[in-house]
Symmetry: D2
């Protein structure tokens, strides 16, 4: 089921002021939202319309996350997210993320999110046909 895990999708955007905290840097919880943004872009770039999958009754909840913080970003900094699929199973997917300073290429934050496919009642189910066809 797991093919070509090497595809990496890059997303860039600026740090928003609301994402900073009193330490002057991006609040650590924000990176889960950055990861989600990388993941969303990954799906959009592969022509996978998550909203329509949700309408078909699929859910894709997060079951586990891990983040390591090496450095930090400040308001206005540009952020580059590299997103890839680490593991793609019939009932679960693991994404891995690196958050880089696009100027220096330095990796400042990294992490992963693990997801399962469920129906709208939360019962674990097999991946949607459209996801299978992506042959990620």
């Amino acid at each position: 089921m797991t093919k070509n895990r090497q595809k990496i999708l890059e997303t860039e955007f600026h740090v928003r002021y609301a994402e900073t905290d009193a330490m002057g840097v991006v609040h650590h919880a924000t990176y889960l939202i950055y990861f989600e943004e990388g993941r969303s872009q990954y799906m959009r770039d592969h022509g996978f319309d998550f909203s329509s999958i949700e309408k078909e009754g699929f859910r894709f909840p997060v079951t586990e996350v891990g983040v390591r913080y090496i450095g930090s970003f400040r308001y206005g900094d540009k952020v580059k997210i590299q997103t890839k699929i680490e593991e793609n199973r019939s009932r679960s997917v693991t994404f891995a993320y690196d958050v880089l300073n696009p100027g220096t290429g330095e990796r400042l934050v990294s992490g992963f999110t693990k997801h399962i496919w469920t129906d709208s009642e939360g019962n674990v189910t097999r991946m949607p046909q459209k996801w299978l066809e992506l042959s990620l």
Copy 2:
């Protein structure tokens, strides 16, 4: 329809670190969430279970907000929200809020939110029977 607008509900909690920004104070968008918290507590205190109303098909979207910022709060500060209903009509409700420093009683932020009652498709509707019975 509008009776006794003088009931004021007070809610207190601490500023969370994630709510601050690089200026060292609570980010201005956060006060809409504080207002929402005041409003939620107001409903809970009046025995109005908003979740069950949502299940009955009612929605209560915000149609307008206004906020004035006089002072600011920092991480760990205690915040007191005073919430009252300014106007209670058959199809809309306006809440007014004051956010106080509970130590000094000083009002640091104030504002209002206006809401309409709709069905789950977003069509404007009359208030739920349970809301009417509250005689706010």
Copy 3:
């Protein structure tokens, strides 16, 4: 002091999943963050580096906001923000925003934010020289 108020800056991005709420649409407080994003982009596009202004000791707190909600956005929707300066005074600036569906051009949310220039202790001050030179 107020010249050419007609310059409009457009910013586009996708709705993030974290920005939605249980009604399935973008939470109303999020639009203040969208406005901030429009304002940030406006400054960046005019070559105004807010971070360096902050290092010079200037602050630019929000003193008032107002938002009107006509329609709503969902996860994955593209959002277009139109940002302009409504009033540019020696000690205060008012920005106005329209949030459009970029497909239809329909305006779904609009609002304003009013700001004052202060020093790092919060005392009202005249606009930074660099802001003056922008001749917005």
Copy 4:
């Protein structure tokens, strides 16, 4: 340096509407903020004023987090956070958290955050004297 790791601090509050997402449940990034709230309360309960420690020049950035999601919370649900110190070293602290349904006692989310003590420039430093004196 590590004494009595068994002290558990319990914090309870309600889920805010803004914390939910389009799946109808609390967004997964929110739990890092809940953890932070548990940690803040832990410190407050031990008489440790983090704000004053920050003014002394100490910072306490997060270097690593992990979260496991077993179940979910909805708007208005009461949330109970159990916070304890897992490891208390001279230059780092690890907190562990369980997020429970206070009605059933069921654990729905768990996780940890690892922190280091630094000065205001981000250089790793020994714990503040006041933290040492807490003998956690």
